[in-house]
């Protein structure tokens, strides 16, 4: 973890007894991070020292989580290739590749519906 991270996981020697929370490894903008297991992606990134999650599509302003409960939509990041995901609602998983959401999303190649009935009526 980053030593100057604004957030951290409570250390094992904090009041209340020792706790062993496991960790998983993810990448953020290509950089490998060890983060607490069972946390949301947003919580994990904050604990790992990430301060800017995205830039806004309107002005490019830097933003980071605000509400942590899915109502503010500030914590949007790209997770495993899917853009604009609310990271506070997604549990972190080993091997996840996360990227900052810079501005508006790109349109990926997407095969779309395979087949489907040609007849709308």
């Amino acid at each position: 973890m980053v030593t100057d991270s604004l957030f951290k996981v409570l250390p094992a020697d904090a009041p209340g007894g020792a706790i062993d929370t496991g960790t998983v490894t993810i990448t953020f903008d290509g950089k490998a991070l060890r983060v607490p297991q069972g946390a949301s992606v947003a919580a994990a990134l904050l604990a790992a020292g990430v301060e800017r999650f995205r830039t806004t599509p309107v002005s490019g302003a830097a933003r980071a989580p605000y509400c942590m409960m899915g109502v503010c939509f500030e914590c949007l990041v790209e997770i495993d290739g899917v853009a604009n995901r609310q990271s506070c609602l997604v549990p972190v998983a080993d091997g996840m590749a996360i990227r900052s959401q810079l501005g508006m999303r790109e349109l990926n190649d997407f095969i779309g519906l395979a087949g489907g009935t040609g007849d709308e009526r």
């Binding site: 409570l10 919580a43 604990a47 301060e51 800017r52 309107v58 605000y66 509400c67 109502v71 009935t117």
Partner: protein, 483 residues
Amino acid sequence: MSANQVELVIVGAGPAGMAAATLAAQRGLSVTVLDEQAAPGGQIYRAITQTNARRLNILGPDYAAGGELARAFAASGAKHERGASVWQVTAERTVDYVQDGVVKSLQAGSIILCSGAMERPFPIPGWTLPGVLTAGAAQILLKSAEVVPSQPVVLAGCGPLLYLLGWQYLRAGVPIRAIVDTTDSADYRRALAHLGGALKGWRQLAKGLKLMRALKRAGVPFHQGATNLALEGTDALAAIRFTVNGSAQRIPTEVVLLHQGVVPNTQISWSLRAQHRWDDAQLCWVPITDTWGELDVPGIYVAGDSRGIGGAQAAAEQGRLAALEIVHRAGRIDRAARDSLAAPFTRALRETLHIRPFLDALYRPKDANRIPADEVTVCRCEEVTAGQLRGIVKLGCLGPNQAKSFGRCGMGPCQGRLCGLTVTEVIADARGVPPAEVGYYRVRPPIKPVTLGELAVAHDAALKRAAAQRDETAAEAQNSSAR
């Protein structure tokens, strides 16, 4: 979309949802609870089923009480759909949701909306900077992942949740740099008028006092009666500024936790075009319901904080009362049984709400922190300032919907959750009329985002079903004509 019939659909697995589901399921109703999180508890009991001894110790007994509710819920037989994001509820009581990328639908006999509360917006200069979070967010970090600020942290605003967080941090060994408290002597004077109610709720009052004492005893610096709050920084938070007793202060800090109360999450009730009223004591919109919690939309009830802020205990009692009425309407119990079963819940509800008017008066958020100066961002998603909004009012826009058309305020992904109250109040203030006259955004589905692909697949499935139905009908016709 295939519609499955359920007697009772509950949206939200917080205290209201869990209590309602438990009672209804125990009385034999088919119940499905839809919740967006992976585990029950809502926000106030977030991660209660995955917690440990240390967290319980830090968070305190009120949080631990949620465990009992969760256990009863798990044992009740109610179906709990996790990771289910409700995107539409119709007046005909269809509930459309997305789960694991699949669009699904339920047809409900009755619905209880238990969407809970969310933090009141705190539009002060710099509130959109990285490093600024709500006290609620900090609690969620603590509850769900034991994540805490690594530097001595500044708490700013007012309200029981702010002090509770401070107390929890003390117990966790997290240093608090300062509490910038906007509560002033005028607030105390106003609250005195409601002291009677506070004394009736003396247990809660005592809890609150104990909390404050612990903070003061630990030497946490309090800056009381703070005004002119502003957050400084360019790409991230660097400092908080405020004024106390006429003297300007500045605390360098990279994390500030803001709080000035919670407000009902009314997205779904507004989307149903249910009637709401402006509550001037709580400075927010509340849905209009009967004693059981039913809206003016038949068969749809609201319970918990989304019906009006009352706390976890009140939420559970309201959940039970709504469930009782629904169980009665479903013919499982008669009116006498309903009323006798309801009596203890009604009593408990009344008791837990005694202290509410006192708290609402004491921690009434300041005008300046609700109706900001021109340069402050009101709509975070679309980056619209209060000044731009006032300009639109000058153009003749009477309410939030015209303001939205002209200024894009409220059109972003949060769909007005973080700007709605501010917009109503800024327009009311600019026009010199009460908020009730200004109204609120027209809330439209999807209540939560759903992808075009998810919807398209659902339509494709509907087409296939229709085609299969046609084939079946044709085959039947052929068979019968062959006979």
